[in-house]
C-alpha cells in the first residue's frame, strides 16, 4: 500500500465487498472519531462496544482499529445497530445508535431481498449493483443527524488485554492459555479435551 487509505476504502478492503451495513458502520466510525477527537487505535487507547455482529462492525474494526484480536472490541449480542466508542486517553465515551428506519425504503428492501438470494440471474446482479450505487450515495451523503442519534455516556473501559502463559494440554498436546485449562485426574486439559 503506497498511501494511507481513506477510512471508506480501509473498510471495504477489510470487509471484502460494499454493502449498506458496512457503509452505516463507516459513518458511525467517522462520527465517533469526530465526536471524541480521535483517530485510529494503535494499542488499545480506544475500545468499541458493539451491540450487533453485522457488517457495520467490520467498519468499526478497520477504521477505529478496535479489533477482535486486540481485545478492544466488546460484543454485546443485543441485535441493535448501536456502537459505543470509549477513549481511554480522553476519558470520554460516545454511544451512537442508528435511528429506526433512517435508511429504509424500497431500494433497501429490494437490496436485502437480493442479498439473501444464493444465485442471482444476470439481470438481478445488475439490479443489485444499481441498488448498491443508489444506497451508497444516499448513505454517504445523508447528514449524520438523519442517520444516527448520539450522546456522551459514562462507560468504564475494560482492562487492557493481558498476555497469559501458554501451557501444554496433557491430552491433545496443543498449547492453551493457562487460564482456560482445568486439572482432571492430575492432567492439565484444554477446554476441548475437558469435554472428551
Amino acid at each position: 500500500m503506497c498511501k494511507n487509505m481513506p477510512p471508506l476504502e480501509l473498510a471495504i478492503q477489510f470487509h471484502g465487498h460494499i454493502c449498506p451495513g458496512l457503509l452505516i458502520g463507516v459513518r458511525a466510525a467517522e462520527l465517533a472519531q469526530k465526536q471524541l477527537g480521535v483517530g485510529q487505535d494503535n494499542d488499545e487507547e480506544l475500545v468499541a462496544v458493539v451491540e450487533n455482529d453485522n457488517c457495520s462492525v467490520d467498519a468499526i474494526q478497520a477504521i477505529l482499529g478496535c479489533t477482535f484480536g486486540k481485545g478492544n472490541l466488546v460484543f454485546k449480542d443485543y441485535g441493535k445497530n448501536a456502537w459505543t466508542v470509549i477513549s481511554r486517553n480522553a476519558g470520554r465515551a460516545v454511544r451512537i445508535a442508528q435511528k429506526f428506519g433512517s435508511t429504509a425504503g424500497p431500494a433497501s428492501d429490494r437490496f436485502r431481498e437480493l442479498a439473501g438470494k444464493p444465485n442471482l440471474t444476470q439481470d438481478e446482479a445488475a439490479e443489485k449493483e444499481a441498488l448498491i450505487g443508489e444506497l451508497f450515495e444516499r448513505i454517504m451523503s445523508m447528514p449524520a443527524e438523519e442517520i444516527f442519534t448520539w450522546q456522551e455516556v459514562s462507560a468504564v473501559p475494560p482492562e487492557r488485554a493481558r498476555i497469559r502463559k501458554t501451557v501444554r494440554c496433557d491430552l491433545c498436546g496443543e498449547g492453551v492459555m493457562e487460564t482456560r485449562t482445568s486439572i482432571r485426574d492430575g492432567q492439565t486439559l484444554c477446554p476441548e479435551c475437558q469435554l472428551k
Binding site: 498511501k3 471508506l8 424500497p106 429490494r110 443489485k128 449493483e129 451508497f136 450515495e137 454517504m140
Partner: protein, 267 residues
C-alpha cells in the same frame, strides 16, 4: 380486501404481472416498486396507465429500454492494478476497443495513432501489437503525471481515448486539456476516491459543451449498457458520485467523433 392485481402491457395486451399487491411505490428512473401480501417484490420500468380501484386492478404500460446505438469506442487503461506506477517502473498502457468497458472480440484498428503530451507539444508514441491487443510502452524513465491519448480514423468516424497516468506520488495543479477535437477532462485533477463526487468537463476544440450526454461506467459492471448517463451543465461540466472499485470510463459523442476518458483509481 384492499390489495390489487397488477397487469402490464408489454405491447401485446395486458398480462398479469403480480397478484395481491398491497404496496406500490414509484421510484426514480421511471421504476415502480411493488410488493404483495406474500412478501414478493418486483421493480419494473413502467408507467401506471389506469387504476380500477373498484375492481382491484392496476394497469401498467412497460417502458421499453431505449436502445442506445452501440458504437465501438477506444479507451486506455494502465497495465497495473495499483492505480499508478512507481518511479523506474515500466509504464505500459493497454488500448481497448469495445463498449461499456467490455472489449470486443477480434477488433480491427484503422489509422491508429497515440500521443503523449510534454513540454507543450504532442509526441507520437509507438503502438505495439501484443498478441492481438494493442499496447503503448512508455519505458521506465517517466515521472509525474502523463497525459496520453490515442485516436483512430475510420472513414468519417473518429475515435479518441485519453487518460492521465500517475508515475510516482505527485499532486498536480494547472494541468491543461490536450486540445482534442472532443475531449473529456477532469476539472480538478486529484486522487479520485470512492464515496466522493468526481467532476469532468466536455470540451470541443477547447470550448465547453453544455447539454452533452456523458456516459459513465466502471470496470466489471454487470450492466449491459452504461450504468450512468450525465448531462453537462452550462459550463460543460458534469459530476458523478463514485461507488465502485477500480477505474471508471467516461464517454461522449458529437458529430462523427466519440471520445473517452479513463479515470484511473488506486482502489
Amino acid at each position: 380486501m384492499c390489495e390489487a392485481n397488477v397487469y402490464i402491457n408489454r405491447g401485446s395486451g395486458d398480462e398479469l404481472l403480480m397478484e395481491k399487491v398491497d404496496r406500490i411505490v414509484p421510484g426514480e428512473d421511471q421504476s415502480i416498486f411493488m410488493e404483495n401480501i406474500f412478501g414478493e417484490r418486483k421493480v419494473i420500468k413502467a408507467r401506471i396507465r389506469e387504476m380500477e380501484l373498484v375492481h382491484h386492478r392496476v394497469m401498467l404500460d412497460e417502458i421499453q429500454e431505449v436502445d442506445h446505438p452501440v458504437h465501438e469506442e477506444l479507451w486506455l487503461e494502465p497495465a497495473t492494478d495499483h492505480g499508478h506506477f512507481h518511479e523506474g517502473e515500466q509504464v505500459t498502457l493497454k488500448l481497448f476497443k469495445g463498449y461499456n468497458m467490455k472489449p470486443g472480440h477480434d477488433c480491427e484498428f484503422a489509422g491508429l495513432k497515440a500521443f503523449i503530451a510534454g513540454n507543450g507539444e504532442a509526441k507520437e508514441l509507438h503502438i505495439h501489437d501484443h498478441h492481438g491487443s494493442r499496447e503503448l510502452v512508455l519505458g521506465q524513465e517517466n515521472d509525474g503525471l502523463l497525459q496520453v491519448w490515442a485516436e483512430e480514423a475510420e472513414g468519417n468516424h473518429r475515435r479518441l481515448a485519453s487518460v492521465l497516468v500517475e508515475v510516482g506520488h505527485h499532486h498536480h495543479h494547472g494541468l491543461k486539456p490536450a486540445g482534442l477535437d472532443l475531449e473529456i477532462f477532469p476539472t480538478d485533477y486529484s486522487h479520485a476516491r470512492m464515496g466522493e463526487s468526481y467532476e469532468i468537463q466536455v470540451l470541443q476544440q477547447g470550448k465547453p459543451v453544455p447539454g452533452a450526454e456523458v456516459r459513465a461506467t466502471f470496470a466489471g459492471t454487470h450492466q449491459k449498457d452504461y450504468p450512468h448517463r450525465l448531462v453537462t451543465n452550462d459550463e460543460g461540466k458534469a459530476r458523478l458520485f463514485l461507488t465502485a472499485r477500480g477505474n471508471y470510463l467516461f464517454s461522449v459523442s458529437a458529430d462523427e467523433v466519440i471520445s473517452t476518458f479513463t479515470l484511473v483509481k488506486s482502489f
